[in-house]
């Protein structure tokens, strides 16, 4: 059910600007909504992140994935069991930049049969990496539209991205890979029964949204061309807070922009916040140094305990009988 609801929701989100971005409506879709979306994104993101940041971390509970630092002659594993902040930074970097924990899935293992087989679990890791990195590349490529002069690295990136030299304008590998990765992540959810079982509308919706966003972008670049100069004029206007809507921008651009607006406005209120959340995860972002450095629980409170003297009162005679020392005779 979640699949269909999400699918139709995205279809509706495409139809809205299609119908609405005419005449004066272009101001709404070209200026008002993007501004609102960015504002919602910033406020929402800050709200969520501060909410997490303000919630205390009562205990230092890293998940340890390797030997702790102990006696000097025992080889410790500073990456999977960091004993200091440098180790934590390295662990987090590997986690955030290389999805190390997902990679564990694909560790080479002994399998049934003569040949070693370790491919099957790698797909999620590869797809996740492809998805996130191509998204980043596509994002950076868009700098061309909202920076003047266009920074050098954007051109460089484009030449690398378009190295296949196919098509006119040149086909950007990143867009294609991003689309394929998103499709893979979607198909995986539908095809693997366990995953279908756990998937919610909130899992399909952002995927459809991104697939729609990327597809509209590809359409705009290769098939339904829009006047790129006008688009840049609009975007520069937005960026410099002197918004204008030039004449003659095709509706496909407004669809693209609207989907993007929805995505970023939706972002802080959805699972997409994992992007920010991962940095707060107490099982990853803390060193395993409890025995060296005391961790303070800000809300630690006194509790009722059974003291030794209460215990001795209960058992004094029996203790004396077997010669156990007692405090009070």
């Amino acid at each position: 059910m979640g699949v269909w609801v999400s699918f139709f929701a995205v279809i509706v989100l495409i139809v809205i600007p299609w119908v609405g971005a005419q005449g004066a409506g272009q101001y709404l879709f070209g200026i008002v909504i993007p501004y609102v979306a960015v504002l919602v994104f910033i406020l929402g993101f800050v709200y969520r992140a501060t909410k997490w940041a303000k919630t205390p971390v009562p205990f230092k509970i890293p998940t340890t994935g390797g030997q702790m630092k102990s006696l000097p002659w025992i080889k410790s594993n500073p990456l999977d069991n960091p004993s200091n902040n440098a180790g934590v930074i390295a662990r987090m970097a590997l986690e955030v930049l290389a999805f190390r924990s997902l990679f564990r899935n694909s560790k080479l293992e002994l399998r049934e049969g003569p040949k070693l087989d370790y491919a099957s679990n790698k797909w999620l890791w590869i797809a996740a990496l492809a998805f996130h990195y191509t998204f980043l590349v596509v994002f950076i490529r868009h700098f061309r539209l909202f920076m003047e002069p266009v920074p050098g690295f954007v051109g460089l990136l484009e030449s690398v991205d378009g190295f296949m030299e196919v098509g006119l304008p040149r086909l950007m590998m990143s867009s294609l890979i991003l689309l394929l990765a998103a499709l893979y992540l979607f198909l995986r959810r539908v095809a693997v029964p366990q995953l279908r079982y756990i998937s919610l509308a909130a899992d399909y919706f952002p995927l459809f949204l991104i697939i729609g966003l990327v597809s509209s972008g590809i359409l705009m670049r290769y098939f339904i061309r829009v006047d790129i100069t006008s688009v840049k004029e609009l975007i520069m206007g937005l960026v410099s807070f002197r918004p204008t809507v030039p004449e003659g921008i095709g509706v496909i651009f407004f669809i693209h922009l609207f989907l993007l607006s929805v995505l970023i406005a939706y972002f802080p209120f959805s699972k997409l916040m994992h992007a920010g959340g991962v940095f707060f995860s107490p099982t990853r972002n803390l060193p395993n140094d409890n025995r060296v450095k005391r961790h303070i629980n800000p809300w630690n409170y006194p509790v009722k305990v059974h003291t030794y003297s209460e215990y001795e009162d209960d058992f004094r005679e029996k203790m004396k009988e077997v010669g156990l020392p007692v405090e009070k005779e």
Binding site: K51, L195, V278, R291, Y311
Partner: protein, 563 residues
């Protein structure tokens, strides 16, 4: 005539479960899948709420009228107190990386035992009761309301999680189901819904100092009994001291080592080691007050964990020791490593642990003032302080099971292995994906090691058993060693069902076998009182030799006579 299916069609019964959303399938409390409910008397001892006679199999759990309110208020409070909980409720993307990492899922195939879904049980309530989207869109946004059935479901599945953290290792955001289960159990406890096997030990531990409620004189006499057994085996009678003020070191071990086989043999190993070291300057005492290393409070709530943990530092301070040595135990070390010195400020009277034998300063424990017995022993061996004869363990072909808690809550892998390397001659590791940080749970951790839960335990044990079977087939392994009291008790049951030819032991039992005490008699049996296989042969040889001698003498006598 009505159309009748073919015999095959008629014979085939459709066993496949109905296709429904998981939210709509209430749990079925079937024998062997759930633990008995907590008892009113135990609630009373430690002041747990809602003491009453009840069973999870009952229709009516006798919850207070405002149970929903209590539960949700408890949840709200914990969302504000634990970043882990708030975050883990928010950021899961349901990527499925954890799905097949849980031993209960692997062994049972019950989809709600996938870690992601176990957490979703609570997450769905979070969405349905605390987030705007969930409140409005309900199921569509993955939210649901807290109902009686949902509450029962939480009980069912949070007491089917051993808090082993294996899933957390594979999660790209480090979401730790153990953390969710711990909070989930706290919430259940607010309404007095715990299991007997947890509240019983909690109440006992609170009053008498240990899980079984062994009173001080009995604890003392149990250890005396072990000393007598040691005397029988070695000819030497160790004399451990108890509650002794002014000792340098306090030793605390799980009480399972004192009353249940095969943990008792590990306890004998400790006693022998300490006796051996006495001559070298060890000054150590046991305590009957802090006579429990384990902490079933940890399976109840953070607060209860703290209340039971209090005894360790308190007793160390009272006796005036310099530091604490902790025995072989899994969850005890998770608490001691990650919680103890946050619960309590270590008493000022304690010092950085320094081995009195080797002079090694345990800098990595300088704040919390407690070291693991395996660290202590590994250091002794490294410095050549122990006189060892590993060949006494030759009847054993050994493998090592990493306990979840010391593995993923501490990172304690090399020390026990180093000790083992030096005390046994035949050691074989299980496959890489089943040991160290990826170790499989015994299937009975976090207070689920009770007998009425046997079916679930055996399912959860299958992944571990399967790896044991592998080394048993391949290398003839016949002993599964470990450093956890719950493991010692439950792996014994596990192997008896799945791999009957494999026994279970602690590391220090094997050390006790290998350790050569000064002035000991010739050993003919191991700590279990089992005669070494070579003893009979030797005896036979001796008899033969003696017979030969007699024959020789006779022959000589004859010869003499003839002469």
């Amino acid at each position: 005539m009505a159309k009748v299916g073919s015999p095959e069609e008629l014979a085939r019964i459709d066993y496949s479960p109905p296709k429904k959303s998981w939210m709509d399938i209430p749990p079925e409390f079937r024998e062997g899948r759930w633990c008995y409910g907590s008892k009113a008397k135990d609630h009373a001892v430690v002041g747990l709420p809602n003491p009453r006679a009840w069973s999870p199999a009952d229709e009516d759990w006798k919850l207070p009228d405002n149970w929903k309110e209590i539960f949700l208020e408890g949840m709200r409070e914990r969302l504000h107190k634990y970043r882990s909980f708030q975050l883990f409720m928010d950021i899961c993307v349901r990527c499925g990386a954890c799905a097949d990492k849980c031993h209960f899922f692997i062994g049972s195939g019950d989809p709600k035992n996938m870690p992601v879904l176990r957490a979703e049980l609570l997450r769905s309530i979070y969405r349905g009761e605390f987030t705007t989207a969930g409140k409005i869109m309900g199921k569509l946004a993955g939210g649901r309301k807290l109902t009686y059935d949902v509450f029962k479901e939480l009980f069912y599945y949070f007491f089917q999680c051993t808090e082993c953290r294996r899933c957390s290792l594979f999660c790209p955001y480090g979401i730790d189901t153990a953390e969710v289960t711990m909070i989930g159990r706290e919430l259940l406890n607010l309404l007095g819904c715990n299991i007997d096997w947890i509240t019983g030990p909690v109440a006992n531990c609170y009053r008498t100092g240990n899980h079984l409620g062994i009173q001080p004189h009995a604890y003392h006499s149990m250890l005396e009994f072990f000393c007598e057994e040691i005397e029988e085996i070695t000819g030497i009678l160790p004399e451990p001291s108890f509650n002794r003020k002014g000792a340098e070191i306090l030793f605390i071990t799980p009480s399972g080592d004192v009353f249940a086989d095969p943990g008792t043999f590990t306890a004998m190993g400790y006693i022998m080691l300490f006796h051996y070291l006495e001559g070298l300057g060890l000054d150590l005492t046991w305590s009957t007050y802090a006579s429990e290393g384990g902490n079933f409070g940890f399976f109840t709530s953070h607060e209860m964990a703290k209340r039971l943990n209090a005894k360790m530092y308190a007793e160390a301070e009272r006796l005036g020791v310099k530091f604490i040595i902790g025995g072989e135990c899994g969850h005890m070390w998770r608490v001691c490593n990650q919680y103890m010195d946050t619960f309590w400020e270590p008493p000022k009277s304690l010092e950085t642990p320094v081995s009195p034998i080797t002079g090694t300063r345990f800098e990595h424990a300088k704040e919390h003032k407690m070291i693991h017995i395996c660290e202590f022993t590994a250091d002794l061996i490294k410095h050549g302080k122990l006189n060892l004869d590993p060949s006494r363990n030759d009847p054993y072909r050994v493998t090592f099971h990493d306990s979840c808690n010391t593995a993923r809550g501490m990172g304690f892998f090399e020390e026990p292995r180093y000790v083992l390397e030096n005390i046994v001659n035949h050691f074989h590791e299980m496959p890489e994906s089943t040991i160290r940080e990826q170790t499989f749970c015994c299937g009975s951790g976090s207070g689920l090691n009770t007998d009425e839960f046997m079916d679930m335990r055996m399912r959860g044990a299958l992944p571990r058993a399967n790896a044991v079977q592998y080394v048993h087939d391949r290398h003839d392994v016949n002993l599964l060693s470990c450093i956890c009291a719950i493991d010692r008790a439950t792996l014994t049951t596990l192997t008896e069902y799945w791999v009957p030819d494999v026994e279970v032991s602690g590391v220090h039992e094997l050390l006790g076998n290998a350790l050569i005490l000064e002035g000991e008699k010739k050993r003919t049996m191991n700590l279990r009182g089992e005669e070494f296989p070579w003893v009979e042969e030797e005896e036979e040889e001796e008899v033969e030799e003696a017979a030969e001698e007699v024959a020789d003498e006779e022959a000589a006598g004859k010869a003499e006579g003839e002469e």
